[in-house]
């Protein structure tokens, strides 16, 4: 990776600049909305990348945590009388607690067994959400109260653009810095070889669990933001297909690359918007684009492109 891309503060400055400058070219509020969707998904993907890219553990049920966050801000104000921001925090705590509790036995599993266990966890969360309709509105979903803080109410797509953009920059800053802390180095060590990491004195079980909890909190916060932004939640947000979508963002952008997760999210969110022009060919083209980019950029978009750029600079 060229030095200018690998440099953390520069990455962050570029991202912040993009968030600030992008709206200058927006002709309508629709663009604000799509961009906010990208920031929210990118935030969840950056978190998942800490688990998948840095610590090397797969999660095929991550939308479960996304759903917990989303339904926390829906149920909290509607049924319990909590303020939205309080419900958001409680959702994050529940997600962290669930990840911590279930993560202990699950993370002993390897490879495909870990994939099916996390998948099962996600399916169970989605099932509870769909079935307990007295609380969640069932398959139809439910409306979500607007976020209000000290008398100020967050409404409108441009407001949410700035909130989600700011949160994404903060989340990216944390993820980038995490990679350089002892924790981040421990993650990478157990990604490369669990046995070697253990021999080197890394408490493998503890660090896997940490990565899982961190990723769960990211997903939960992203879910809360999306729910409050949309003013509506439905069980699809916790479903298997959404889990798959999150994993695809991370892998498409490039496992282990924080910038990659954002690029992957941007692609998967904007592509369907662009492809709606082709109407019925939409899914066909989406599948085709995923296949072709994974064949030709098997390490993901950002690592492949930066390697290509590095090669060009050298020759």
């Amino acid at each position: 990776m060229p030095a200018w891309l690998g440099h953390r503060s520069l990455t962050l400055i570029v991202l912040a600049a993009i968030v600030v400058l992008l709206p200058l070219g927006f002709p309508s509020s629709y663009y604000f909305r799509v961009a906010s969707l990208v920031w929210v998904s990118a935030f969840a993907a950056v978190g998942l990348n800490i688990l998948m890219g840095q610590a090397g553990q797969v999660s095929l049920g991550h939308a479960g945590f996304f759903g917990i966050g989303a339904y926390a801000v829906a149920i909290g104000p509607a049924h319990v009388g909590l303020p939205s921001w309080g419900a958001l925090l409680i959702g994050a705590v529940i997600s962290a607690a669930l990840a911590w509790l279930v993560g202990r036995p699950i993370l002993r599993l390897k490879g495909h067994y870990l994939a099916i266990a996390t998948l099962g966890l996600g399916v169970l969360v989605a099932l509870v959400i769909t079935t307990e309709s007295r609380w969640t509105g069932g398959p139809d979903g439910m409306s979500v109260a607007k976020l209000s803080l000290l008398g100020w109410r967050a409404t409108g797509s441009s407001t949410w653009y700035w909130i989600t953009g700011g949160v994404l920059v903060a989340g990216t800053w944390i993820a980038l810095n995490l990679g350089e802390t002892p924790t981040g180095r421990a993650f990478r060590a157990l990604h490369d070889s669990e046995v070697a990491a253990r021999v080197a004195g890394v408490d493998v079980a503890r660090f896997k669990l940490q990565a899982f909890v961190i990723a769960a909190v990211y997903a939960s916060l992203a879910g809360s933001m999306l729910a409050m932004m949309n003013g509506f939640v439905n069980p699809d947000q916790a479903g298997f297909l959404h889990s798959v979508e999150l994993v695809t963002m991370v892998v498409l952008g490039g496992l282990g690359s924080v910038v990659g997760s954002i690029v992957g999210a941007a692609m998967l969110i904007t592509l369907p918007q662009v492809l709606t022009v082709f109407q019925e060919y939409e899914h066909l083209l989406l599948g085709l684009i995923i296949i072709v980019s994974m064949i030709f950029m098997r390490d993901g978009i950002v690592p492949t492109v930066s390697r290509w750029l590095a090669g060009r600079v050298r020759t």
């Binding site: 699950i106 998948l119 298997f240 066909l284 599948g287 994974m294």
Partner: protein, 290 residues
């Protein structure tokens, strides 16, 4: 008691379909280490193509044959166009490719066919057969019999033919298989084709009972994958046992406990099994070499 047999038969019927999907997963996984998330789409193709070809006036057995052929062609294309070019890519990249393929196939089916639910006529009438007080649809026997025949054929193929032994050798050690002169590329193509055929047959057999539409594949792939893991990934008999067990769990769970949480029992049991036996029920303990 009649109730018990009712749940048993419906559990076995659904379980047989899960078993066939899991068998398809296992076949491809053994030959190529790819977890094929487009496996459910083969089942969908089997059902949908049969429905639409039969609707065009082709007799049902011929329509079914055409559907299996189409699925096999799609399976081979998937291998040649998407998996083979990405050979040597990380496992998770290959998984994303198969997910892309499943999105593509679903999109194509939605475009070529439609978004409606479709039904096939039962192969031998709809009059329920009384078995120990349980009313069983004749189609259930077709599903169970069909699944048994496929498992038997696969067993004979793998154990009694040279080509089948080449598949087993490739599954055991791809490099060693290539060294003794086995064309592993052919074996992998065979696995994708065979797996597609098995999926399509499952789709044709179950459509008269559960209906089909362009998006039935996702849930089936999920359940088939779960069944394969429950039995122990890579073990064909484990896949069949896992599938039947999953079907029975769902049927008895829905019957005796709560029908709304039907899908939950299966996954709770899978989590519990994996906690206690991290290699699945019939999986071998793998010693990791460093």
């Amino acid at each position: 008691m009649a109730e018990f047999f009712q749940f048993l038969m419906s559990g076995l019927t659904v379980g047989a379909v899960y078993a066939l999907v899991a068998l398809g997963f296992t076949l491809i996984y053994n030959a190529s280490d790819v977890v094929n998330f487009a496996q459910g789409e083969f089942v969908m193709l089997g059902g949908m193509v049969t429905v639409f070809v039969a609707a065009a006036g082709v007799p049902l057995p011929l329509a079914a044959l055409i559907a299996v052929t189409v699925a096999v062609a799609v399976g081979l294309l998937l291998y040649w166009l998407a998996i083979e070019p990405a050979r040597g890519a990380p496992a998770v990249t290959l998984i994303i490719i198969t997910i892309g393929a499943s999105i593509l196939l679903r999109g194509a089916a939605q475009m070529l066919f439609d978004k409606q639910f479709h039904k096939l006529p039962s192969f031998s009438g709809d009059a329920p057969i009384n078995l120990f007080g349980a009313a069983v649809q004749p189609q259930s026997f077709w599903v169970l019999g069909g699944a048994a025949v496929i498992v038997l054929l696969l067993y004979v193929f793998l154990e009694r033919t040279v080509l089948g032994k080449a598949v087993l050798a490739t599954a055991a050690n791809r490099l060693a298989a290539r060294l003794v002169g086995i064309n592993t590329t052919t074996v992998m193509a065979l696995a994708f084709g065979g797996s597609a055929a098995i999926g399509a047959v499952a789709g044709i057999l179950i459509t008269p009972i559960t209906l089909t539409s362009y998006d039935v594949g996702t849930l089936l792939a999920l359940k088939g994958f779960a069944a394969a893991m429950l039995g122990g990934m890579g073990n064909p008999l484990g896949a069949v046992a896992g599938g039947l067990l999953l079907g029975l769990l769902e049927a008895f769970g829905a019957g005796y406990l709560s029908s709304t949480y039907k899908d939950a029992f299966a996954f709770i049991v899978i989590l519990v099994v994996l906690f206690a036996m991290p290699q699945g029920l019939f999986g071998r303990r793998v010693v990791e070499r460093v």
